[in-house]
């Protein structure tokens, strides 16, 4: 499995470096969405629940762009068939794609999170709370990557994949939004308080359950 995952990750990195598509699109979408929220809410600065809501709605919708493109090149250029012909565990495709999606999200957030702090967030964030926020981002991104990969593999086999992707992924990701927004809201408040462990546990449990589900189901999704 390691050999196949490594081959697939190298290929994903080469393709994204050669013709950057997903990461620039997701980053630009995030920045534009902040501007839309800025004018839509008629607020210069946000904090607490509202800040968390704007941050996570933006991340989630930006992620839909990545999920929608995750398997498209493989489907259109035959990489899917080539992979299925190889003597490798088919779950390695799931692992590689989920790791790619996780990397895309992390790279986008390197731009999008500082931009959010500069453009919209009212109160500053202490170093300790920044680390807490990174922990929330990591757990939520993992959930988005797992469910996104599962949905992407399903949607790419349909003609209406652009419609199917958000229609399937967004409802499945509602628990991630709830957990991530509740966990990060105290960190983004005027008087920031401790990270609520309960919501971190919810995110961790979500990742575990959907990770196992995806691991068990993926073979059936890519089989004829």
């Amino acid at each position: 499995m390691r050999r196949a995952v490594s081959a697939l990750l190298r290929k994903e990195a080469s393709l994204e470096l050669r013709t950057p598509q997903v990461i620039p699109a997701m980053a630009l979408f995030s920045l534009v969405t902040y501007v839309v929220f800025h004018f839509g809410l008629r607020r210069n600065e946000l904090e607490g629940d509202l800040a968390a809501g704007v941050l996570w709605a933006t991340i989630l919708f930006a992620a839909m762009l990545g999920v929608g493109r995750l398997f498209v090149t493989d489907r259109e250029e035959g990489g899917f068939d080539a992979f299925l012909l190889a003597p490798v565990d088919r779950t390695s495709l799931f692992v590689a794609k989920a790791l790619s999606m996780l990397a895309f999200l992390a790279l986008v957030q390197v731009v999008a999170i500082p931009a959010f702090f500069v453009l919209l967030l009212g109160p500053g964030l202490s170093a300790a709370h920044t680390l807490d926020l990174i922990l929330v981002l990591a757990l939520a991104d993992l959930g988005i990557a797992i469910v996104g990969t599962l949905v992407g593999a399903l949607a790419v086999q349909t003609r209406a994949r652009d419609l199917i992707t958000p229609l399937l992924a967004l409802p499945l990701l509602v628990p991630v939004i709830i957990g991530a927004a509740r966990a990060s809201s105290p960190l983004l408040a005027e008087h920031a308080t401790a990270l609520p462990a309960k919501w971190l546990a919810v995110l961790g449990l979500y990742d575990l359950v959907f990770g196992l589900l995806a691991y068990g189901l993926f073979d059936f999704l890519v089989e004829d």
Partner: protein
């Protein structure tokens, strides 16, 4: 990766039917082929030739009947066949934005093949000088040569070739012949629209029309006129 079963037919299809929704692409097809032999499949567009190849490649399941490849039942042990099959279809299965060498390295890693094999094949098909060019910059003939390298990279026992020389000029066809021709010594299933050329390659000829096997006979017993009848409207 499991090895081919010694003494078993390379291909053994019995009453195979495959549907796409309401449409039947293959109906009740029975054919067997010994190792090292060549089956050439003739038939008009939509006759089921590509479907047959995709079933043999384990990319499609049969809906009825049984299919064995290299001695392994595809429904139960399809995974044992992967890695022993090389598929060369209309689609080259190469990423357009990667170079030929990057594509072949990707496939070599998936099949656990030493990277030195790539250089050997690039030399064999005369592509070493273009190996660092992205696939989308190449002519169809050069892409087809790269696809030949991809199909035989892992030295498959069974080659599935869908009109393999369609985009190749005579010189290029001669270049790839040692890899995918009869001299390769591999069991081959080839689809063709060229009665004379196809029969020259074949040990066994299969004629498909509307998914049914209208013709199945040793190539020596088949004439180009018999093949031509498959295409009659």
């Amino acid at each position: 990766m499991a090895e081919p079963v010694a003494g078993a037919p390379a291909i053994d299809l019995r009453n195979v039917t495959r549907r796409y929704g309401e449409r039947t692409a293959l109906f009740d097809v029975t054919v067997a082929l010994d190792p090292g032999r060549t089956l050439v499949v003739f038939g008009p567009n939509g006759a089921g030739k590509s479907t047959l190849l995709r079933i043999l490649a384990t990319l499609l399941r049969t809906h009825e009947g049984t299919a064995s490849v290299l001695g392994h039942d595809l429904k139960r042990d399809g995974w044992k066949v992967r890695g022993h099959v090389g598929l060369l279809g209309h689609d080259p299965l190469l990423y357009r934005d990667l170079t030929i060498r990057e594509n072949l390295r990707f496939h070599a890693r998936l099949h656990d093949v030493p990277l030195a094999r790539i250089e050997e094949l690039l030399d064999a098909v005369g592509l070493r000088a273009r190996a660092n060019d992205q696939v989308h910059t190449l002519s169809r003939g050069l892409v087809q040569r790269a696809a030949v390298c991809r199909a035989v990279l892992h030295d498959p026992a069974l080659l599935l070739l869908d009109e393999p020389k369609a985009n190749l000029d005579p010189a290029a066809a001669a270049i790839v012949d040692p890899l995918i021709g009869a001299a390769s010594g591999r069991t081959r299933v080839i689809t063709s629209h060229d009665p004379a050329g196809g029969l020259a390659e074949a040990d066994l000829a299969l004629g498909l029309r509307a998914g049914r096997a209208d013709l199945l006979a040793p190539a020596a017993d088949v004439t180009t006129a018999m093949i031509g009848e498959l295409y009659a409207v």
